[in-house]
């Protein structure tokens, strides 16, 4: 195992430094923001607890807090993108480079079996990706918890937690298979990108359909709306329980929606068609399950392909 790790480092030091170091740096930045946000908010609470004019240190604390608020959106965006960049750029060139540079004929014939060779090349990278992206997912979660009030739910989907690592591993496996099939680095990167984009769209459509199917009508005022995915809003008649659409309510009670109106028709209760954040872990688990299945299938296919593929055709 140690020799595999050493070999991986020797052959891909640039890529590893950039693509494993990058997520680790992002994780460190997210952890720093989480820590500093907590400390700054506690300091600000203390500043506002005294009913006197703000001191110079409190004013600088406010400025620091304002500066910190710019970072979470950037880091959240980077956390969403990182699994794809890491998976594609580490996975696609892994075998395709050996074929393109014509080192595969020697390497494959020298190793005891091609499957063992492939396992030796992929395993150290898989472990490195899993560790780096799990750390990134956890650091991002700590940052979101520190900066966003309320529950973490659907608005932060795939920006935190183990899903970040699961996506990276699946993309990496797809990259390895595409690289093995194509035998050229740059085309393999391009095709992996397209395949992953298709997978992502498929997962999004499936998740959206499931979320809509499992959404329920809930009284708007009874719950905290943070982390909730709302699909529609309507009103229910308090006496009959009949559901009427917003458009119907606007036409039946125009005075309630005028500039001086309360926005609430008399004898009605506003309801939302929503998927509550309690369902969020289920959707994350489902997507991780689907990605694990893709990883196993694609990984198995890669082992099958390498057993019969010629090592010298680009």
């Amino acid at each position: 195992m140690l020799s595999s790790v050493r070999l991986a480092w020797r052959m891909q030091r640039w890529e590893l430094a950039f693509l494993i170091g990058g997520p680790l740096l992002l994780a460190a930045a997210a952890g720093f923001v989480a820590w500093q946000t907590t400390v700054t908010l506690a300091g600000l609470d203390a500043c506002y607890a005294d009913n006197v004019a703000l001191s110079a240190s409190c004013r600088s604390l406010i400025q620091w807090g304002n500066a910190l608020t710019a970072l979470p959106p950037i880091l959240e965006g980077a956390t969403v993108v990182a699994p794809f960049v890491v998976g594609i750029l580490l996975g696609a060139p892994l075998v395709s480079r050996e074929i393109e540079k014509r080192t595969a004929p020697l390497a494959w014939s020298l190793s005891l079996s091609r499957a063992r060779w492939l396992a030796g090349r992929t395993l150290p990278l898989l472990i490195a990706i899993a560790i780096a992206l799990l750390l990134l997912g956890q650091a991002s979660e700590a940052m979101i918890r520190a900066t966003a009030p309320g529950q973490i739910g659907f608005p932060y989907f795939a920006m935190h937690g183990p899903l970040v690592a699961a996506r990276a591993i699946s993309v990496f496996e797809i990259g390895v298979l595409v690289g093995l099939l194509m035998g050229r680095v740059l085309p393999a990167i391009l095709v992996t990108g397209l395949v992953v984009a298709a997978l992502l769209v498929g997962l999004y459509v499936m998740r959206d359909q499931l979320m809509r199917a499992e959404a329920t009508w809930v009284e708007a005022s009874t719950r905290d709306l943070s982390g909730v995915m709302i699909y529609d809003s309507a009103f229910t008649d308090d006496t009959s329980g009949e559901l009427i659409t917003s458009e119907e309510a606007f036409s039946r009670f125009p005075e309630a929606f005028g500039i001086q109106g309360s926005g609430m028709p008399p004898g009605m209760t506003q309801v939302y068609l929503m998927t509550p954040p309690e369902r969020y872990p289920v959707f994350v688990a489902r997507e991780i399950g689907a990605l694990a299945l893709v990883s196993v299938l694609v990984g198995g296919l890669a082992f099958w392909v390498i057993a019969w593929r010629r090592p010298d055709i680009g």
Partner: protein, 314 residues
């Protein structure tokens, strides 16, 4: 020209196919959207007028998603095309050790580089020019009643083409400096992020900002200027800060609603004073930015030629 074009196709057929098909495909979508939106407006003023005729932003609900996606991809296209086509030109030859043979066989290394770069530059320019025209037509068709000015500045027109040229030159120079495709690609991606952010920040610096008239400002809804500062002018002529002005406007609206009026008397409200570059001066900005980017591209091509002349081919 045919011989180097054929050689470029043989060496980079996947990258060419991706850039040409992707770029022209995206341009086709943009042309189709522009044609579709324009044809919907032809019946305006007649009994068969489309609902779009009634709105300031007529196509938000019908075409918004496709137009938004196409504009995002158009913004990414010059960076993707430039890196994919530029990086492997020298790095691929050095990495595959074919430079050892190709460089001594050609009359001079600079001529070899020119022969390799010219067809790639020509193809890239042609595809990006078509895409830039299509993106421009689509953006104008989406907002038929507006002077687009700085809206989507980087993803349409000449700025899109110039970005592609600069990134191509950057890719060639990086490939020559690093001599390996994937590391050069990674560094290129990082530099492209920096370039994009830098150009965005520099956008309102190419020509001096001026105080704009109310029609030139963003509230006119007819143009999209680059706003650098917002202040408010009180009815007595005093100029106050943006935050202070917004508080006064909010308080005036709250007082009017409390008094049973729909809105406060406009004569009593502070008026916004926008400083920046009006949409009408966008052409001037494009010209200056394009000249600067052209000079940068020449410098980067020069750097690539210098490195190719001096570096070891293996």
């Amino acid at each position: 020209m045919i011989a180097p074009l054929r050689l470029a196709w043989r060496l980079q057929r996947w990258e060419f196919a991706f850039v040409v098909l992707g770029g022209l495909g995206l341009a086709a979508v943009a042309f189709w959207q522009a044609f579709d939106m324009r044809s919907m407006l032809t019946g305006c003023g007649t009994s068969s007028a489309a609902p779009a005729c009634e709105f300031v932003y007529p196509f938000q609900t019908t075409h918004g998603n496709v137009v938004g996606l196409a504009q995002t991809l158009s913004g990414l296209a010059p960076f993707l095309a430039g890196l994919l086509l530029g990086v492997p030109i020298v790095a691929g030859e050095v990495e595959h050790r074919t430079a050892l043979l190709a460089w001594p066989l050609s009359g001079s290394r600079a001529r070899w580089l020119a022969w390799r770069v010219m067809p790639v530059l020509a193809i890239s320019l042609a595809v990006m020019a078509v895409l830039s025209v299509a993106a421009d037509l689509m953006a104008q068709a989406y907002l038929p009643k507006s002077d687009l000015g700085f809206l989507h500045h980087a993803s349409r027109g000449l700025p899109l083409v110039m970005r592609a040229v600069v990134v191509l030159a950057l890719g060639v120079a990086l490939g020559a400096l690093m001599g390996r495709v994937l590391p050069a690609l990674l560094v290129g991606i990082a530099l492209c992020v920096g370039l994009s952010v830098g150009l965005g920040l520099a956008l309102d610096q190419w020509v001096p900002s001026q105080v704009m008239t109310e029609d030139e400002g963003p509230e006119g809804l007819t143009g999209f200027p680059a706003v650098t500062d917002l202040r408010y002018r009180m009815p007595d002529g005093e100029i106050i800060g943006a935050q202070e002005g917004e508080i006064i406007v909010e308080q005036a609206y709250a007082a009017a609603i409390e008094a049973g009026q729909d809105e406060p008397d406009p004569a009593t409200l502070p008026r916004p004073v926008f400083t920046g570059i009006s949409a009408a001066r966008h052409g001037e900005v494009v010209l200056r930015e394009s000249l600067a980017l052209g000079a940068l591209a020449i410098g980067l091509f020069g750097l690539a030629a210098f490195v190719v002349r001096r570096r070891r081919p293996e």
